[in-house]
Symmetry: C2
Subunit: 157 residues, 2 copies
């Protein structure tokens, strides 16, 4: 998944032999006009419902990088905390992938732009279109990485 206070993208895939099969994706969106506690509460509840419905054996997220803008990193970190709490409550292990490892895992090379990654997500999962919104496509990219590299996480990068 790709957590954020405004949008938490999620994607579910299944490993079928050497293939990765698409199951579902979506995005938990919250209104910026709502109190912050309510937004976090909503993310926790909705993410819990998704875990309850799909019962994933594994989860994956991107390693938080500190090079980015602090004011944008703070709400991401708050939402990330909520998502990690829910995963722990459901006993689901988490893999973390660096951006370079996601590119390697999905596109097959460490140099790729966001569009290339999204296009490969569509191709790998046999979808008619690039999944929307972008946070959900990013979440599916992470799910593909976890399915392809269930043990090593960041190892290949």
């Amino acid at each position: 998944m790709d957590p954020g206070l405004a949008s938490t993208g999620w994607g579910i895939v299944e490993q079928a032999g050497n293939a990765v099969r698409y199951l579902s994706h979506g995005c938990i969106s919250t209104e910026s006009s709502s109190p912050q506690g309510e937004r976090l509460f909503f993310i926790h509840r909705e993410f819990g419902r998704i875990l309850e419905e799909w019962k994933p054996q594994q989860s994956a997220t991107e390693t938080l990088y500190f090079g980015r803008n602090v004011s944008s990193a703070i709400p991401v970190a708050e939402a990330r905390g909520i998502v990690l709490l829910a995963l722990t409550q459901f006993g689901i292990p988490l893999l973390e992938f660096r951006p370079i490892a996601v590119k390697q895992g999905v596109v097959g090379q460490t140099v790729a732009d966001k569009k290339q990654v999204q296009l490969m997500v569509k191709v790998i999962l046999g979808l008619k279109q690039i999944p929307r919104p972008q946070h959900a496509a990013d979440a599916l990219a992470l799910a593909i990485c976890a399915a392809r590299c269930p043990a090593g996480a960041d190892a290949p990068a």
Copy 2:
């Protein structure tokens, strides 16, 4: 309270007329060697227990500032998300105070160092010593502000 991934300080006071009465304080500490999800899970559980025990009518935290180091802000923000979730789950309103408002509320002036704030926390609450650890003293300072300024939060600064 004063949230953090390693240490979440908390303090409980009671308003008794014009006075502020000390009730309790403490710190939820987690091991840096534990998986992050487990640390957040522990904070959520322990903070929930404190809310369950003391049933506060109001809570207060410091406004997150972005001037600080990002790598130290991230784990604080993750823990803060957990604490805000727990408060919302218990239906407890949150006040946010800027550092300058905490100094004004506790010391009575906007220019004061951490030591002065902690000393005034001790004096106001009639304690024999400055509460330890520092995160708990900071949490009590915020609790004093909330008790003295239950409506306005950041207004006086």
